[in-house]
């Protein structure tokens, strides 16, 4: 290759490389991992827990996607349950997750919990649009085995939480803050019920006498009317 060729080819090659790569970059979208901030709320929980009650709110998650650049998909929620002071996981039954935007419809099947990590699968993936605030709640039925003074602490570890960008498929960067503690009340032992009859006998007798009097007056009036006729 002579000197003239070199002078021509080199600038052409440089120009091609430069413009070629720029045009290629313009055709692509550069994605960044979406972010998700989760706060375990301490308000709105059922307190105290009552034996034999239904749908007690055990935990609430405030999910913030204002830092996300795209919608985020969540398929399960990793509730970490810590049992304290003799509390039994088996006291909690039929635990379900609800989206408080539609609080009457559960978005997960009824499940029981155990101490430690409980990955509660959602019935269908939850799509959280970017720039929104969403609240999810974990509700359980409480059976009669609940232990007075026991504690239920719910936490969530960032590493356990799995969420992905709907468009990019990139894993979301999740931060979790807070923990909630739910405490059942001391068991109340009542006194004996008043199951005798005499406690309202006087009242019953008064009602009876009143009825008799009314019947007598009515009959007397009716008879008087018939005699007049």
């Amino acid at each position: 290759m002579n000197k003239i060729h070199k002078l021509l080819i080199l600038p052409l090659a440089i120009a091609f490389m430069a413009f070629g790569s720029i045009s290629q970059a313009n055709a692509q979208t550069v994605y960044v991992n979406p972010t998700l901030a989760i706060q375990l709320a301490t308000s709105g929980l059922t307190s105290p827990l009552v034996a034999n009650s239904s749908s007690a709110t055990m935990a609430r998650l405030l999910i913030d996607t204002t830092g996300a650049t795209e919608a985020v998909r969540v398929s399960s929620l990793p509730f970490n349950l810590v049992l304290g002071s003799g509390a039994l996981a088996s006291s909690l039954e039929n635990c379900r997750v609800y989206n408080e935007a539609n609080p009457t419809v559960a978005i997960s099947s009824a499940t029981s919990l155990s101490g430690g990590l409980n990955a509660v699968a959602l019935n269908s993936p939850l799509i959280l649009n970017a720039g929104t605030l969403n609240t999810l709640a974990l509700r359980c039925d409480i059976n009669s085995s609940i232990v007075a003074g026991g504690t239920y602490t719910f936490t969530m570890n960032t590493a356990d939480f799995s969420a992905t960008g709907v468009t990019s498929g990139l894993p979301a960067t999740v931060t979790v803050r807070g923990a909630v503690v739910v405490i059942p009340p001391a068991v109340i032992t009542p006194g004996f019920p008043a199951t005798g009859a005499t406690n309202d006998a006087a009242q019953n007798i008064l009602v009876m006498l009143g009825s008799i009097s009314l019947a007598a007056v009515g009959f007397h009036y009716a008879r008087k009317q018939s005699l007049k006729a």
Partner: protein
Amino acid sequence: MNKKALIGILAAVGVLLVLFLVFSKASYVSNSTSTPVATTTGEITSATAEVENKRWPVRLDIPKLEVEAPMQYMGINAKGNMEDPNNFTDVGWYKLGTIPGNTGSAVMAGHQDNGYGLNGVFKYLHTLKIGDDVYVVNGEGKKLHYRVVETAVYPWNAGPLERIFNAKDGKYLNLITCSGVWSKVAGSNDKRLVVYTELVEN
């Protein structure tokens, strides 16, 4: 007032009495599986909410006493005592305690008469003996079989309440009614009869 009028009045009273006796007898011996009833006092909540829990009892059967009683759900009254049923034909289950079939002490209470001498649902509870059978039917239709293991009478304000309401070493059903005589101080009868039963596991 002449004789005929007097007879008429007496007849009217008689009719009223008969009607009263018939209706106050009600259905404590009944074959129906009635819907649980919630009373309106204390901590008792609405029946609609309560029937959601199918494991809660809906009927108590005691064959020996010919009792087949519908269930009411009781909380605690302002005096800190278990509420009592609002009629003389139903049985009240202490809903803040143990669900029948679970480990613990389920407790049910019933009246002994209706204030006119008519029998309440637990009028003859004192005749139950050790070994007699008691059944609880729950909202799922499951029939739980209990057997009498002990009977005891306590003062109205002093009894082993922890054992009666909170025993956790077995699956119990404890039946309570009044006993003794009327006490002005107590505002009720002066004794309570407790029949302790234990679940017969199949």
